[in-house]
């Protein structure tokens, strides 16, 4: 295992000769260092091009490309251009870990970035930590803030599911009703919603009157609707995958015109046109949005600039294909993460992969991030101890086939107590 053996420095005739030779070569070394400093910053982009995350991956890719173009147009990072090295992880945790290894040991990337699905984050983060590769995820999972990962893993630009769900409870209790039936997929993402929302609504004086878990392989939902208690005031739903269209259609057939208030998470309908046949029943219902899909009446100049840069029209679809709907509630995380990395590298005077730990420390020092072109989704408050950001959440109402913003939560609504302090971990 020669790679593990570190040479013991001793002063011999050979080392003295070696030192002299190295001194003679110093000018050459300087020239190389200069050449190296103009090398691009290489960002390993772990993208879900295939597998269940492919629709997200396509838009993460476009957003990342647009963000890098903007950064390079502004002069790059520390005078160096930014280069994206994209690798498909197949939305698979094993391949994810291999991709991270490829970034670190073959492509010599400065950082890894861009992972969305939580199981891929969990599968990849241990390797990133072992390889000491800064790993920036855009996942909205609670994994980072829970302390389950490591100091090399951060989520600085997208809020986690715990804070999102928590921030919904005041609006639901005050405007829609206090007796809630939850319908969610019977896996970790759904369980997070169940647990965090149940706790949050109780703090608002409400209660979850029924928790209906749907097995992930389910294709028809008719048998679940009779389980909804009659005194339900609000249905809280979060369904993922292609079955969501059937779910909404069957829910409409079950309730007819006398439906309770309905609140859902737009994760269910990311990359899906809200006007798709079968979704008419959603008219008048409410949705959480990470970033309003439709350009609102009071659209900020930052959102306008971001939309144009990525190529998204005012309805949240591709400017080149109105049927190609964006994953607008999540993809801003790629844009904002890259801007945070840029600021972190500039603060750390980042020069090479040897400065990776300085980059982590520089970002840990960050806190408030105002609404700007760098942060078009809204202001953020980053917690350096938990490596997790907090920010505004949006609630929109489906009105005439469009999502119209009805409420914006404060950052304070999303805060919760720290569950970890990564800064106490050594590099």
């Amino acid at each position: 295992m020669s790679k593990l053996i570190k040479p013991t420095p001793t002063l011999t005739r050979r080392t003295l000769l070696g030192t002299a030779a190295a001194a003679a070569a110093t000018p050459l070394l300087g020239r190389y260092a200069q050449a190296q400093s103009s090398e691009p910053i290489r960002i390993g982009f772990q993208v879900h091009r295939t597998g269940i995350g492919a629709s997200y991956g396509r838009w993460y890719d476009r957003t990342t490309t647009a963000a890098v173009k903007r950064i390079n147009d502004m002069g790059g990072i520390n005078g160096r251009p930014v280069e994206i090295v994209a690798e498909d992880d197949g939305t698979d945790p094993k391949r994810g870990a291999e991709v991270v290894e490829k970034f670190a040991t073959q492509h010599n990337c400065d950082i890894g970035f861009g992972t969305l699905f939580s199981h891929v984050v969990y599968g990849s983060a241990p390797r990133a930590g072992e390889l000491k590769l800064p790993y920036f995820v855009v996942s909205e999972g609670h994994h980072v803030a829970s302390g389950a990962l490591n100091r090399w893993t951060m989520q600085p630009a997208i809020t986690d599911v715990k804070s999102q769900v928590q921030a919904m409870a005041p609006f639901v209790a005050d405007n829609l009703g206090k007796k809630v039936t939850m319908i969610y997929p019977d896996f970790a993402f759904g369980h997070d919603h169940r647990d965090y929302f149940s706790e949050a609504i109780e703090k608002q004086g409400g209660e979850v009157v029924a928790k209906i878990a749907i097995p992930p392989s389910e294709t028809s939902f008719t048998k679940y609707f009779p389980k909804i208690p009659r005194d339900t005031e609000v249905i809280y739903h979060v369904m993922i995958g292609p079955a969501v269209l059937t779910f909404v259609k069957e829910m409409g057939e079950f309730f007819g015109p006398s439906k309770p208030e309905i609140f859902g998470f737009l994760d269910s309908l990311e990359a899906v046109d809200i006007n798709s046949p079968g979704l008419e029943f959603l008219e008048g219902t409410y949705f959480w949005e990470g970033h309003p899909r439709y350009a609102q009446a009071d659209q900020s100049s930052h959102d306008k600039m971001y939309r144009e840069a990525v190529g998204v029209d005012e309805n949240g679809a591709s400017v080149s294909d109105p049927k190609d709907v964006a994953t607008y509630s999540h993809m801003f995380g790629c844009w904002e993460t890259l801007n945070i990395v840029k600021r972190g590298m500039e603060a750390a005077d980042y020069k090479s992969t040897a400065d990776r730990s300085k980059l982590i420390e520089a970002i840990e020092e960050m806190s408030d991030m105002p609404l700007s072109d760098d942060h078009p989704q809204g202001a953020k408050r980053f917690n350096g101890k938990t490596h997790q950001t907090f920010g505004h959440q949006y609630i929109s109402k489906v009105d005439s086939g469009k999502l119209v913003l009805a409420h914006t939560s404060s950052i304070e609504d999303t805060l919760y107590e720290d569950e970890v302090d990564y800064t106490t971990q050594s590099f």
Binding site: L4, S118, H119, P126, H143, A148, F187
Partner: protein
């Protein structure tokens, strides 16, 4: 030189080449090779049942996951150290394969395939059902600090590589021995003509059950090793996809050959890795390549070499 000596030479030669490869390969490829050796253990376990016994299982992800979670949960929830947790992984795979084997061997042919698939799906849903402990589809990470044995950090590239090599070597030599032993010969006899084996007085069901158990435990050992060396356990490994993979590796490498599973796993890994670096349509490339391999190398890579050139290949 006898065929037996040549077989020993091949196995020991492969182990020596792998031992030396760490010194000459770039870090990326030595890391890949560690991963391939771990999944090759899984493929070898599968090969015992499919390649030598003639039982086509579509549910081996259940055994792999039994080992993965047997070790993972003990380390994650009970703070066990790696060695006892590894033993727990093996025991979990042993129990699961014994119980499942007892039930599935009442079926044959297509029914066997379907029942194994259904049990694996039931296992997958069980992992999701107990999400409070398993974290379901998300899974959980095993912290770096806990993955140490006798002061050796299993996350160190060198330690990890040689740990994978040791387990790979033990499995390769162990299965090579079993295949040449009377038990292995009986498995081949059952594969070739089950009725004749039964008529000769063999308790075919009992022997097949033993094969399921050995295959399941080896697959579970691979799962436990993966969790230990790569620090992650998740329900993805229990999906049908991970039941199809070992079938694919074995078919490509050569069913019923000792080194075929390793060759198949290595070939598939680099086919995906290389093609994905060249084109976004890499799955098409992979698919076409597999079709070509199936058409022109119907016995797999090693199997075709044995058929056409080296009849002694084990």
């Amino acid at each position: 030189m006898s065929d037996t000596s040549k077989s020993h030479g091949l196995h020991l030669g492969l182990i020596c080449v792998l031992a030396l490869a760490y010194f000459v390969l770039p870090a990326y490829h030595s890391g890949n090779l560690a991963s391939v050796m771990v999944i090759a253990i899984y493929a070898m376990g599968y090969n015992l049942l499919f390649g030598y016994t003639g039982l086509l299982s579509l549910g081996h992800a259940l055994f792999f996951s039994a080992g993965l979670y047997g070790l993972g949960l003990m380390m994650h929830l009970a703070d066990w150290t790696p060695l006892p947790a590894f033993a727990a992984g093996l025991i979990a795979a042993l129990v699961v394969s014994a119980v499942i084997g007892f039930l599935i061997l009442r079926t044959t042919g297509v029914a066997f395939m379907i029942v194994t698939l259904m049990f694996a799906q039931a296992g997958y849903l069980t992992i999701l059902y107990f999400g409070k402990y398993t974290r379901g589809d998300e899974g959980f990470a095993l912290q770096q600090a806990s993955r140490q044995i006798a002061g050796y950090d299993l996350t160190d590239p060198g330690v990890r590589y040689y740990c994978a090599l040791v387990l790979f070597s033990v499995t390769l030599l162990g299965l090579a021995y079993i295949i040449r032993a009377p038990f292995g010969r009986t498995l081949v006899a059952i594969r070739e003509n089950e009725e004749r084996a039964r008529m000769l007085g063999y308790n075919v069901t009992a022997i097949k059950l033993k094969a399921v158990i050995v295959s399941g435990v080896v697959s579970g050992a691979s799962g436990a090793t993966y969790a230990l060396l790569f620090g992650y356990a998740g329900a993805t490994f229990a999906t049908v996809q991970y039941s199809i993979f070992p079938l694919l590796w074995v078919l490509v490498g050569g069913a019923g050959t000792t080194v075929g599973p390793f060759v198949g796993a290595l070939f598939m890994f680099y086919l995906i890795d290389y093609a994905s670096g060249k084109t976004e349509a890499y799955l098409l490339v992979v698919g076409v390549t597999l079709v070509l391999v199936t058409l022109f190398l119907p016995h797999g890579i090693v199997g075709t070499i044995r058929t056409r050139f080296l009849r002694w290949l084990p």
